[in-house]
Amino acid sequence: MIKVINGGIEILVEDWPGRIGYMGLGMAAAGAMDNLALQLGNLIVGNDTGAAGLEIAGGYCEFEFTAAGVISITGADMSPTINGSNVPLWEAIAVKTGDKLKLDHIGEAGFRAYLAVRGGIDVPVYLGSRSTCLFGSYGGFEGRKLAVGDDLPALPSDGTADGIAGRKLNPKYIPAYTNVWELRAIPGPNSVPDYVSEAGMDYFFSTTMKISHNANRAAYRLEEVPAEFWARPDGGAGGSHPSNIVDHGYNMRGAINVTGNTPSILIADGPTLGGFVCVANVINADLWKIGQGIPSRDKVTFTAVTVADGIAARLERQAMFEADDLLIG
Protein backbone atom coordinates (compact mmCIF):
# COMPACT_ATOMS: atom_id res chain seq x y z
CA MET A 1 0.00 0.00 0.00
CA ILE A 2 2.67 2.48 1.04
CA LYS A 3 6.35 2.27 0.23
CA VAL A 4 9.08 4.37 1.81
CA ILE A 5 11.24 6.35 -0.61
CA ASN A 6 12.92 8.48 2.03
CA GLY A 7 12.76 7.40 5.66
CA GLY A 8 13.33 10.86 7.10
CA ILE A 9 14.05 11.18 10.80
CA GLU A 10 11.87 8.59 12.51
CA ILE A 11 8.82 6.88 11.02
CA LEU A 12 7.16 4.17 13.10
CA VAL A 13 4.03 2.03 12.98
CA GLU A 14 1.96 2.87 16.07
CA ASP A 15 -1.57 2.15 17.23
CA TRP A 16 -3.62 3.11 20.29
CA PRO A 17 -3.83 2.40 23.20
CA GLY A 18 -0.74 0.32 22.50
CA ARG A 19 0.45 -2.86 24.19
CA ILE A 20 -1.59 -2.83 27.38
CA GLY A 21 -1.25 -5.29 30.23
CA TYR A 22 2.47 -6.13 30.21
CA MET A 23 3.87 -3.47 32.53
CA GLY A 24 4.34 -6.09 35.25
CA LEU A 25 6.59 -7.98 32.85
CA GLY A 26 8.68 -4.95 31.95
CA MET A 27 6.97 -4.05 28.69
CA ALA A 28 5.85 -0.48 28.20
CA ALA A 29 2.61 0.23 26.34
CA ALA A 30 4.42 2.06 23.46
CA GLY A 31 1.64 3.44 21.18
CA ALA A 32 1.22 6.76 19.39
CA MET A 33 2.95 9.71 21.04
CA ASP A 34 0.06 11.95 19.93
CA ASN A 35 -2.85 9.58 20.34
CA LEU A 36 -5.38 12.32 19.56
CA ALA A 37 -4.02 12.99 16.06
CA LEU A 38 -3.80 9.26 15.27
CA GLN A 39 -7.34 8.58 16.51
CA LEU A 40 -8.82 11.51 14.62
CA GLY A 41 -6.93 10.48 11.49
CA ASN A 42 -8.41 7.00 11.78
CA LEU A 43 -11.95 8.31 12.19
CA ILE A 44 -11.55 10.51 9.10
CA VAL A 45 -10.76 7.49 6.91
CA GLY A 46 -13.45 5.36 8.54
CA ASN A 47 -11.23 3.19 10.76
CA ASP A 48 -11.61 2.32 14.42
CA THR A 49 -9.87 5.02 16.44
CA GLY A 50 -7.06 2.69 17.54
CA ALA A 51 -6.00 1.31 14.13
CA ALA A 52 -2.28 1.32 13.32
CA GLY A 53 -0.93 4.23 11.31
CA LEU A 54 2.44 5.82 10.67
CA GLU A 55 3.95 8.19 13.20
CA ILE A 56 6.27 10.62 11.46
CA ALA A 57 8.62 12.52 13.78
CA GLY A 58 10.54 15.46 12.37
CA GLY A 59 9.33 15.13 8.78
CA TYR A 60 11.65 15.03 5.73
CA CYS A 61 10.25 11.93 4.17
CA GLU A 62 8.67 10.59 1.03
CA PHE A 63 6.38 7.70 0.18
CA GLU A 64 4.99 6.05 -2.92
CA PHE A 65 1.59 4.38 -2.92
CA THR A 66 1.77 0.86 -4.31
CA ALA A 67 -2.01 0.48 -4.29
CA ALA A 68 -5.01 2.80 -4.47
CA GLY A 69 -6.65 3.74 -1.20
CA VAL A 70 -7.78 6.50 1.11
CA ILE A 71 -5.45 8.23 3.56
CA SER A 72 -5.47 11.11 5.99
CA ILE A 73 -2.63 13.21 7.35
CA THR A 74 -3.04 14.69 10.82
CA GLY A 75 -0.89 16.12 13.57
CA ALA A 76 1.94 18.55 12.91
CA ASP A 77 1.77 20.44 9.61
CA MET A 78 4.77 19.30 7.54
CA SER A 79 3.40 20.90 4.34
CA PRO A 80 2.45 17.58 2.72
CA THR A 81 2.30 17.30 -1.07
CA ILE A 82 1.10 14.57 -3.41
CA ASN A 83 2.84 14.57 -6.78
CA GLY A 84 4.04 18.08 -5.96
CA SER A 85 0.64 19.60 -5.14
CA ASN A 86 -0.27 20.68 -1.64
CA VAL A 87 -2.79 18.48 0.15
CA PRO A 88 -4.82 19.38 3.23
CA LEU A 89 -4.44 17.95 6.72
CA TRP A 90 -7.38 16.49 8.66
CA GLU A 91 -9.11 15.32 5.47
CA ALA A 92 -9.62 11.98 3.70
CA ILE A 93 -7.61 11.91 0.46
CA ALA A 94 -7.96 9.33 -2.32
CA VAL A 95 -4.61 8.10 -3.63
CA LYS A 96 -3.78 6.01 -6.68
CA THR A 97 -0.97 3.61 -7.40
CA GLY A 98 2.22 5.52 -8.13
CA ASP A 99 1.22 8.71 -6.27
CA LYS A 100 4.09 10.22 -4.33
CA LEU A 101 3.52 11.77 -0.93
CA LYS A 102 6.19 14.07 0.43
CA LEU A 103 6.43 15.70 3.85
CA ASP A 104 8.68 18.66 4.47
CA HIS A 105 10.34 19.76 7.71
CA ILE A 106 8.33 20.48 10.84
CA GLY A 107 6.73 23.91 10.87
CA GLU A 108 6.16 26.47 13.57
CA ALA A 109 4.41 24.11 15.95
CA GLY A 110 4.13 20.37 16.43
CA PHE A 111 6.70 17.59 15.98
CA ARG A 112 4.80 14.52 14.84
CA ALA A 113 2.47 13.93 11.90
CA TYR A 114 0.29 10.84 11.50
CA LEU A 115 -0.60 9.03 8.34
CA ALA A 116 -3.74 6.94 8.63
CA VAL A 117 -4.66 4.51 5.86
CA ARG A 118 -8.18 3.21 5.31
CA GLY A 119 -8.16 -0.30 6.82
CA GLY A 120 -5.13 0.43 8.97
CA ILE A 121 -1.47 -0.50 8.48
CA ASP A 122 -1.02 -4.26 8.46
CA VAL A 123 1.90 -5.47 10.53
CA PRO A 124 1.82 -8.54 12.80
CA VAL A 125 -0.02 -8.09 16.10
CA TYR A 126 2.53 -8.74 18.86
CA LEU A 127 1.11 -9.21 22.37
CA GLY A 128 -2.12 -7.49 21.44
CA SER A 129 -0.77 -4.48 19.56
CA ARG A 130 0.81 -3.36 16.29
CA SER A 131 2.79 -0.60 18.02
CA THR A 132 6.55 -0.37 17.71
CA CYS A 133 8.53 -0.23 20.94
CA LEU A 134 11.63 1.43 19.53
CA PHE A 135 13.47 1.25 22.85
CA GLY A 136 13.09 -2.55 22.95
CA SER A 137 13.20 -3.12 19.17
CA TYR A 138 9.98 -5.12 18.98
CA GLY A 139 6.48 -4.78 17.58
CA GLY A 140 5.49 -2.67 14.59
CA PHE A 141 7.49 -3.23 11.40
CA GLU A 142 10.39 -5.51 12.39
CA GLY A 143 10.75 -3.61 15.66
CA ARG A 144 12.40 -0.65 13.97
CA LYS A 145 11.88 2.68 12.30
CA LEU A 146 11.04 2.53 8.62
CA ALA A 147 13.75 2.73 5.99
CA VAL A 148 13.98 3.14 2.22
CA GLY A 149 12.27 0.33 0.38
CA ASP A 150 9.94 -0.84 3.17
CA ASP A 151 6.51 -1.53 1.71
CA LEU A 152 3.65 -1.72 4.17
CA PRO A 153 0.32 -3.34 3.31
CA ALA A 154 -3.03 -2.08 4.55
CA LEU A 155 -5.66 -4.31 6.10
CA PRO A 156 -8.85 -4.79 4.12
CA SER A 157 -11.61 -2.48 5.33
CA ASP A 158 -15.30 -3.14 5.77
CA GLY A 159 -17.69 -1.71 3.20
CA THR A 160 -16.96 0.66 0.39
CA ALA A 161 -14.52 3.54 0.31
CA ASP A 162 -17.01 5.50 -1.82
CA GLY A 163 -17.77 8.89 -0.39
CA ILE A 164 -15.00 8.75 2.19
CA ALA A 165 -12.51 10.83 0.20
CA GLY A 166 -13.16 14.48 0.95
CA ARG A 167 -14.54 13.80 4.42
CA LYS A 168 -12.91 16.14 6.89
CA LEU A 169 -12.62 16.90 10.55
CA ASN A 170 -14.86 19.73 11.68
CA PRO A 171 -12.31 22.55 12.07
CA LYS A 172 -13.51 23.34 15.57
CA TYR A 173 -12.09 19.98 16.71
CA ILE A 174 -8.62 20.45 15.23
CA PRO A 175 -6.28 20.43 18.25
CA ALA A 176 -4.45 23.69 18.95
CA TYR A 177 -0.68 23.39 18.51
CA THR A 178 1.70 25.71 20.29
CA ASN A 179 5.32 26.02 21.42
CA VAL A 180 4.49 26.13 25.12
CA TRP A 181 2.45 23.08 26.07
CA GLU A 182 0.25 23.28 29.12
CA LEU A 183 0.05 19.84 30.65
CA ARG A 184 -2.52 19.17 33.34
CA ALA A 185 -0.92 16.91 35.94
CA ILE A 186 -1.94 15.19 39.16
CA PRO A 187 0.60 15.26 42.03
CA GLY A 188 1.85 11.89 43.24
CA PRO A 189 2.68 9.24 44.13
CA ASN A 190 5.80 10.95 45.58
CA SER A 191 4.95 14.44 46.74
CA VAL A 192 4.69 16.53 49.94
CA PRO A 193 5.47 16.21 52.76
CA ASP A 194 7.83 13.21 52.66
CA TYR A 195 9.60 13.47 49.28
CA VAL A 196 9.18 16.93 47.77
CA SER A 197 8.89 20.23 49.65
CA GLU A 198 5.84 22.46 49.31
CA ALA A 199 8.12 25.02 47.67
CA GLY A 200 9.40 22.29 45.35
CA MET A 201 5.91 21.41 44.15
CA ASP A 202 5.12 25.13 43.79
CA TYR A 203 8.25 25.45 41.64
CA PHE A 204 7.28 22.47 39.53
CA PHE A 205 3.77 23.76 38.92
CA SER A 206 4.79 27.35 38.15
CA THR A 207 7.97 27.05 36.07
CA THR A 208 8.06 26.89 32.30
CA MET A 209 10.60 24.19 31.41
CA LYS A 210 12.36 23.69 28.12
CA ILE A 211 12.30 20.25 26.52
CA SER A 212 15.82 18.79 26.22
CA HIS A 213 17.36 17.68 22.92
CA ASN A 214 17.44 14.25 24.58
CA ALA A 215 13.65 13.93 24.50
CA ASN A 216 12.54 10.75 22.74
CA ARG A 217 9.79 8.14 22.83
CA ALA A 218 10.95 6.80 26.18
CA ALA A 219 11.34 10.05 28.11
CA TYR A 220 10.92 13.77 27.54
CA ARG A 221 13.74 15.20 29.59
CA LEU A 222 13.23 18.70 31.04
CA GLU A 223 15.32 21.29 32.85
CA GLU A 224 16.76 20.69 36.31
CA VAL A 225 14.86 21.58 39.46
CA PRO A 226 16.68 23.48 42.24
CA ALA A 227 18.03 21.71 45.35
CA GLU A 228 15.17 23.19 47.45
CA PHE A 229 12.87 20.90 45.48
CA TRP A 230 13.49 18.10 47.94
CA ALA A 231 11.98 17.57 51.38
CA ARG A 232 14.66 15.11 52.47
CA PRO A 233 18.46 14.97 52.50
CA ASP A 234 18.83 11.56 50.85
CA GLY A 235 16.90 8.58 49.53
CA GLY A 236 17.16 6.45 52.67
CA ALA A 237 17.41 2.75 51.84
CA GLY A 238 16.77 3.70 48.20
CA GLY A 239 20.10 5.45 47.70
CA SER A 240 22.17 8.51 48.42
CA HIS A 241 20.25 11.12 46.38
CA PRO A 242 16.79 12.34 47.47
CA SER A 243 15.48 11.29 44.06
CA ASN A 244 16.36 7.65 44.89
CA ILE A 245 13.73 5.27 46.16
CA VAL A 246 13.53 1.51 46.63
CA ASP A 247 12.57 0.32 43.13
CA HIS A 248 8.88 0.77 42.44
CA GLY A 249 6.53 0.53 39.47
CA TYR A 250 6.14 3.71 37.45
CA ASN A 251 2.78 5.32 36.67
CA MET A 252 3.50 5.06 32.96
CA ARG A 253 2.49 6.70 30.54
CA GLY A 254 2.68 10.25 31.87
CA ALA A 255 4.81 9.83 35.00
CA ILE A 256 7.02 12.77 35.94
CA ASN A 257 10.11 10.89 37.02
CA VAL A 258 12.99 12.77 38.65
CA THR A 259 16.52 11.35 38.37
CA GLY A 260 19.03 13.41 40.28
CA ASN A 261 17.56 16.87 39.85
CA THR A 262 16.36 16.27 36.28
CA PRO A 263 12.65 15.67 35.69
CA SER A 264 11.54 13.61 32.69
CA ILE A 265 8.08 12.76 31.46
CA LEU A 266 8.00 8.98 30.96
CA ILE A 267 5.95 8.07 27.94
CA ALA A 268 5.31 5.41 25.27
CA ASP A 269 8.49 3.27 25.41
CA GLY A 270 9.60 4.43 28.87
CA PRO A 271 10.76 2.24 31.77
CA THR A 272 8.01 0.54 33.77
CA LEU A 273 9.90 0.20 37.03
CA GLY A 274 12.92 1.79 38.62
CA GLY A 275 14.55 3.45 41.58
CA PHE A 276 13.55 7.10 41.19
CA VAL A 277 10.62 9.12 42.52
CA CYS A 278 7.59 10.02 40.40
CA VAL A 279 6.21 13.35 41.57
CA ALA A 280 3.21 13.73 39.26
CA ASN A 281 1.35 12.19 36.34
CA VAL A 282 0.17 13.98 33.21
CA ILE A 283 -3.55 13.28 32.85
CA ASN A 284 -4.53 10.78 30.21
CA ALA A 285 -6.41 13.39 28.16
CA ASP A 286 -3.24 15.54 27.82
CA LEU A 287 -0.73 12.80 26.92
CA TRP A 288 -1.04 13.69 23.23
CA LYS A 289 0.49 17.12 23.78
CA ILE A 290 3.82 15.64 24.92
CA GLY A 291 4.32 13.97 21.55
CA GLN A 292 3.95 17.31 19.79
CA GLY A 293 6.60 19.04 21.90
CA ILE A 294 9.64 19.80 19.75
CA PRO A 295 12.88 18.64 21.42
CA SER A 296 15.42 21.38 22.04
CA ARG A 297 12.85 24.09 21.17
CA ASP A 298 9.41 23.85 22.83
CA LYS A 299 8.56 24.30 26.48
CA VAL A 300 6.09 22.75 28.88
CA THR A 301 4.23 24.03 31.92
CA PHE A 302 2.38 21.90 34.43
CA THR A 303 -0.98 22.79 35.93
CA ALA A 304 -2.01 20.92 39.07
CA VAL A 305 -5.40 19.26 38.78
CA THR A 306 -7.32 16.69 40.80
CA VAL A 307 -8.06 13.06 39.98
CA ALA A 308 -11.70 14.12 39.43
CA ASP A 309 -10.54 16.72 36.88
CA GLY A 310 -8.55 14.03 35.08
CA ILE A 311 -11.55 11.71 34.90
CA ALA A 312 -13.80 14.56 33.69
CA ALA A 313 -11.28 15.31 30.92
CA ARG A 314 -11.35 11.66 29.82
CA LEU A 315 -15.15 11.72 29.61
CA GLU A 316 -15.03 14.98 27.67
CA ARG A 317 -12.63 13.38 25.18
CA GLN A 318 -14.86 10.31 24.82
CA ALA A 319 -17.84 12.60 24.17
CA MET A 320 -15.86 14.46 21.50
CA PHE A 321 -15.13 11.24 19.61
CA GLU A 322 -18.85 10.45 19.67
CA ALA A 323 -20.00 13.96 18.69
CA ASP A 324 -22.42 14.11 15.70
CA ASP A 325 -20.63 17.09 14.18
CA LEU A 326 -17.10 15.64 14.47
CA LEU A 327 -16.77 14.93 10.75
CA ILE A 328 -18.05 16.97 7.81
CA GLY A 329 -19.00 15.48 4.48
Binding site: E10, G58, H105, H213, N214, R217, S296
Partner: protein
Protein backbone atom coordinates in the same frame (compact mmCIF):
# COMPACT_ATOMS: atom_id res chain seq x y z
CA UNK B 1 28.51 29.61 -6.00
CA UNK B 2 28.23 29.57 -2.23
CA UNK B 3 25.69 27.44 -0.37
CA UNK B 4 24.97 26.67 3.25
CA UNK B 5 24.34 23.43 5.12
CA UNK B 6 21.41 24.13 7.39
CA UNK B 7 20.33 22.04 10.39
CA UNK B 8 17.46 19.71 9.50
CA UNK B 9 16.60 18.96 13.12
CA UNK B 10 16.71 20.85 16.39
CA UNK B 11 19.35 19.46 18.73
CA UNK B 12 23.00 19.72 19.69
CA UNK B 13 25.95 19.50 17.33
CA UNK B 14 27.62 16.18 18.18
CA UNK B 15 30.56 16.77 15.85
CA UNK B 16 31.67 18.25 12.56
CA UNK B 17 33.43 15.63 10.47
CA UNK B 18 35.02 17.83 7.78
CA UNK B 19 37.65 20.58 7.74
CA UNK B 20 37.93 23.89 5.94
CA UNK B 21 39.36 23.37 2.46
CA UNK B 22 38.12 19.79 2.21
CA UNK B 23 36.44 18.69 -1.02
CA UNK B 24 33.11 16.95 -0.45
CA UNK B 25 30.56 15.07 -2.53
CA UNK B 26 26.82 15.59 -2.63
CA UNK B 27 25.13 13.68 0.25
CA UNK B 28 28.43 13.23 2.10
CA UNK B 29 28.11 13.49 5.89
CA UNK B 30 29.47 16.87 7.05
CA UNK B 31 28.27 16.99 10.63
CA UNK B 32 26.15 15.11 13.14
CA UNK B 33 23.31 16.48 15.26
CA UNK B 34 22.27 14.78 18.45
CA UNK B 35 18.52 14.72 18.94
CA UNK B 36 16.16 12.25 20.64
CA UNK B 37 19.30 10.47 21.91
CA UNK B 38 19.99 9.57 18.29
CA UNK B 39 22.76 10.77 16.03
CA UNK B 40 21.43 12.36 12.85
CA UNK B 41 23.72 12.85 9.86
CA UNK B 42 23.76 16.25 8.19
CA UNK B 43 24.48 15.58 4.51
CA UNK B 44 25.98 17.99 2.05
CA UNK B 45 23.30 19.48 -0.22
CA UNK B 46 25.79 19.74 -3.14
CA UNK B 47 29.34 18.81 -4.08
CA UNK B 48 31.86 21.51 -3.20
CA UNK B 49 34.67 22.70 -0.95
CA UNK B 50 34.23 23.56 2.75
CA UNK B 51 34.67 27.32 3.10
CA UNK B 52 33.70 28.02 6.69
CA UNK B 53 32.48 26.03 9.69
CA UNK B 54 30.04 28.07 11.75
CA UNK B 55 29.32 25.63 14.55
CA UNK B 56 31.20 23.85 17.32
CA UNK B 57 30.48 20.77 19.39
CA UNK B 58 27.46 21.22 21.76
CA UNK B 59 26.12 24.27 19.88
CA UNK B 60 22.36 24.23 19.97
CA UNK B 61 20.67 24.04 16.58
CA UNK B 62 17.17 24.89 15.49
CA UNK B 63 15.73 23.85 12.17
CA UNK B 64 17.35 25.99 9.51
CA UNK B 65 20.31 27.10 11.64
CA UNK B 66 23.34 27.74 9.44
CA UNK B 67 26.06 25.15 10.07
CA UNK B 68 28.65 25.07 7.29
CA UNK B 69 29.33 27.28 4.25
CA UNK B 70 30.47 25.52 1.08
CA UNK B 71 31.77 26.79 -2.24
CA UNK B 72 30.25 24.89 -5.12
Amino acid sequence: MEFVLKAHMPGLVARVVVEVGEKVEKNQELAVINCMKTEMSCLSPEAGVIKEILVAEWDEMDIGSDMIILEG
